[in-house]
Structure formats: structure tokens, C-alpha cells
């Protein structure tokens, strides 16, 4: 898919909370230490953090890099599966906090782990049609992990924000995108349910791998690009193994996915996962580098993007904290503190 006018990323920003819960701590509590954790640790939001506060900080970082006046932004979209309210938009709070209100299209997006990339697709469409000049697309989550479940090891917190605007002012031009979705019930959370449920092994082959590889292959077929043409690739990271295998299936090397591979350190940030991977890549990319990003959301679908970094990346990169600045700011907590922070104690 290509818009009528080419669009790109004007500014980007990441956010990861300060707290880390080691995987071995979860293993200690639930399996006497007998389960090898899939990730070293995961990020945990503090008591005063949620998707709204985290989205605000990522958005401020994106605006600092872009140098765009907030009043010029006409859409603020927040994709998440952890919106603090069931009814009342996260996006209107974010829009107000960054100064984009009131001449604003504000909405929350929901599609499991690809709600943020879905917002990016829509932003490309509105900017690319000429309806608006700037749209802010955010993917952010404070993922819910059922105590003792396999997903508790990885359900992390974090995400990224992208200001989408005209390609001529972009630090990375979005050359093309593709979306692929089917009704595949691999992972879900019912209304009022505190924790999600999942289909165990069904989450792999018919869900993650099918959608990620279909979206990526269709995009590359459309643009004529080969895996070797890319310096970086980012795939949604429910754990470290899935993106590694998807990369191998598509012909991408470990070196290509290394820079955007954050799940070993922060876990799966759900709607933030592919997007924060892209922020880490943009922290390293050089002008001319081509980047592939493929998200995955359960239920199920994938959005794929082909980008090329421009010279503008070099001057804007240092205007905000890098993704690694947030990742290296860490305070380890134990399961008891984690239980308090995540509201798992009933009093």
C-alpha cells in the first residue's frame, strides 16, 4: 500500500518504565526455580504509571525530535490493550498534555499487540491523502500477565510514539506498507476479565508465523525488495524465539534483527513491541539504511512497513533520550513488590 503523497516519520520517541522483574524470580515463586525463563527480565510500570502517562512521555520525545509545534498535529492515536479506562479515551489526555488539543482527531485503537502499528497505517493514510499534515501514532502497553501463567514471564510495559508527516520532512520515509488480518482466536481477553487467555501452541504456527510471514512476503513482493536490501528488521516480540524464527523463515539474519530485539531485556511490550523495536533501530540507523517492521496482533493480523532512513535522522536523534537510556535505567524488584505494583493483592 502506498498513499497518494509519500509520508514518513518526522519524530519518534520511546518509553520504558524503571522497574524490572527478573524471570528467575517468577520461576522461583511458581515452579521452585525449575522453569528456565524465556527472557532475563521484564519491565514493570510504577504505581503512578499507566498507558496514558507512558504515552505522554513517548509523545513528548517524538515531538522533541520532530521540532513540530503541537498545535499542528491533527490526530493523536493511542493503540493499546491496557487503556486505563474502558470508556474514556487515552488519546484525549495525551493530546491535552502535549498541547495538541483542541483542533484534534483523538481516538484509541485496539487490536491486541498491533494496535499501535494499526494507528501508524491510519496516520499514513490521513497524511498521505493530504487531509492533515501531522498525525501522532502511539503503541503503548502495561501488559497483564495472569499469575503463574507462561505469559507472566514476558508481559512487560513500554512502547513508542511516531509523528507521521510529509516524506520531504521525514527522518525515515515510509516507502510502502501492507496489512494482513484473519479471524484467528489465538489470544483474547473478554470484557471485564482481568487477565487474557490464550490458545497455548495455537499462538504459533496459525497465528504469529502465518500472519507475520504473509504480511512481510506480500510487502516485499510489492516493493521488489530482497531481505539483503535491508540493514535492519523488526518483528513483533512475544518472546525472543518467535521473531528469530520468523526472521529465519523470511531469509533475514540475526545481525539484521539484533538492534531492534528488546524482548530479552524488557519482555513483550504488546502494542508497543514492534514500535519500540523500531525506535531502537532508528537510534542506530544511518541515512540510506532500509528498515523492515512487521507487527503482529492476536486475533489476528500483521502490519508491515518498509522504511528508509534519511539525513534528517542524524540531527534529530540526539534531541530526546534514546531507547537504551530507558532500558539501562533499571531498578530490580522482587515478586512481592511486583504484586503490589500490578494490583495483584486483594485487601
Amino acid at each position: 500500500m502506498r498513499p497518494a503523497r509519500s509520508a514518513g516519520i518526522i519524530g519518534y520517541g520511546a518509553y520504558v518504565p524503571r522497574f524490572r522483574l527478573p524471570g528467575k524470580e517468577i520461576s522461583r515463586v511458581w515452579t521452585e526455580g525449575n522453569t528456565p525463563p524465556p527472557v532475563a527480565e521484564k519491565s514493570v510500570p510504577g504505581l503512578d504509571e499507566d498507558v496514558i502517562t507512558m504515552a505522554i512521555e513517548a509523545a513528548r520525545n517524538a515531538l522533541a525530535r520532530a521540532g513540530t509545534a503541537p498545535a499542528e498535529i491533527r490526530a493523536v492515536w493511542v493503540g493499546s490493550e491496557s487503556h486505563p479506562y474502558a470508556v474514556k479515551p487515552s488519546s484525549s489526555v495525551v493530546g491535552e498534555a502535549i498541547g495538541a488539543s483542541p483542533n484534534l482527531l483523538a481516538a484509541d485503537w485496539e487490536f491486541a499487540c498491533k494496535a499501535g502499528s494499526e494507528a501508524m497505517q491510519a496516520a499514513i493514510g490521513m497524511v498521505g491523502s493530504g487531509m492533515i499534515r501531522y498525525a501522532l501514532a502511539i503503541g503503548m502497553d502495561t501488559a497483564q500477565g495472569r499469575p503463574g501463567d507462561a505469559l507472566e514471564y514476558t508481559a512487560g510495559a513500554g512502547g513508542g510514539a511516531f509523528l507521521i508527516g510529509p516524506a520531504e520532512d521525514a527522518l525515515a520515509v515510509i516507502e510502502a506498507s501492507y496489512s494482513y488480518a484473519t479471524d484467528t482466536p489465538d489470544f483474547w481477553r473478554r470484557d471485564h476479565a482481568q487477565y487474557p487467555s490464550h490458545g497455548q501452541r495455537f499462538t504459533g504456527e496459525p497465528a504469529y508465523f502465518r500472519h507475520v510471514t504473509h504480511a512481510a512476503r506480500a510487502l516485499l513482493e510489492g516493493t521488489g525488495a530482497q531481505p539483503a536490501d535491508f540493514r535492519f528488521a523488526v518483528f513483533h516480540q512475544p518472546n525472543p524465539k518467535f521473531p528469530q524464527r520468523a526472521a529465519a523463515m523470511l531469509g533475514f539474519t540475526k545481525e539484521q534483527i539484533q538492534a531492534g530485539m528488546l524482548s530479552p531485556q524488557i519482555g513483550n511490550t504488546y502494542a508497543g513491541s514492534a514500535l519500540i523495536g523500531l525506535t531502537a533501530v532508528l537510534d542506530q540507523a544511518a541515512p540510506g539504511d532500509r528498515i523492515l517492521v512487521v507487527s503482529f496482533g492476536s486475533g489476528a493480523g500483521s502490519d508491515a512497513f518498509q522504511l528508509t532512513a534519511t539525513e534528517k535522522l542524524l540531527e534529530r536523534r540526539s534531541r530526546a533520550p534514546r531507547t537504551t537510556d530507558y532500558i539501562s535505567r533499571r531498578k530490580e524488584i522482587d515478586y512481592g513488590v511486583y504484586a503490589r505494583f500490578r494490583g495483584k493483592l486483594k485487601m
Binding site: D48, E49, P84, A97, P321
Partner: protein, 133 residues
Amino acid sequence: MDITRHWRLRRQRYALEGERCVHCREYIFPPRDICPHCGEEAGPLHTMSGQGEVYSFTVVHDPPTGYEAQAPYAVALVKLAEGPLITAQLTDVDAADIKIGMPVEMVTRRLRTDGPEGVIQYGYKFRPHLAVS
């Protein structure tokens, strides 16, 4: 909890929107009718940079009603880079690491909630300046 009051003050609470006096050029926070520095009419609005330093602080172990969920927490007098001295919670810092004169920056965080079904109040807090590579 007073929804209307918080709504009126949302710009100052979310983003430190104050004023810069058109007469004496001093910065004012929160916004008010009369400039406390020169006594003339205050304004226009000016959004503060969010940078400042800890002027003094204490740690609250016995919080007032509505603030129990996040206790214990530190409350500081923060001297903004623009001059005004404001009261705010500190966050993302262990109490033992807080120092007078410590550089801090504004972040927007959850202040309190009106029970599990009420509104969530967001507002400014300050955290140690994030180390940037």
C-alpha cells in the same frame, strides 16, 4: 474528588502551563490574575520547561485521604529553572537517593484515583534528570 476543578486546571497540571508577566518579564506559576512580582495584571500564558532542582523535600509515610495507594512517597519544593518554587511529588527515585539541589524534570503521572470506578487524576511530578547517552 472535584472533577470540575481538576478539569479547569488540566493544562497547568499536565504540562506546567504558567505565565510570563508582560510587564516585569518574571515567570509565574500557577497562573493568576495579578503578577506577584510587580502587582500588574498577569499573563500571557507560558509553558514552563519542566526543568528544575530540589529546593527541599520530605517523605510522606502517613498520607492524606486519597493518596494512600502510592505511599510512601517524597514531596519536594522544586525550584523551576524559570524561577517559581512549586510543591510536587518526586517519582522514579528511592528516598535515600534524594538530595537538595538535585536536578529534576517534570513528568506527567497518576496523582490519585477516585476509587476503582472514579476518574483518574493526572498531573505533574518530578523525577531525577534522566541520564542520556
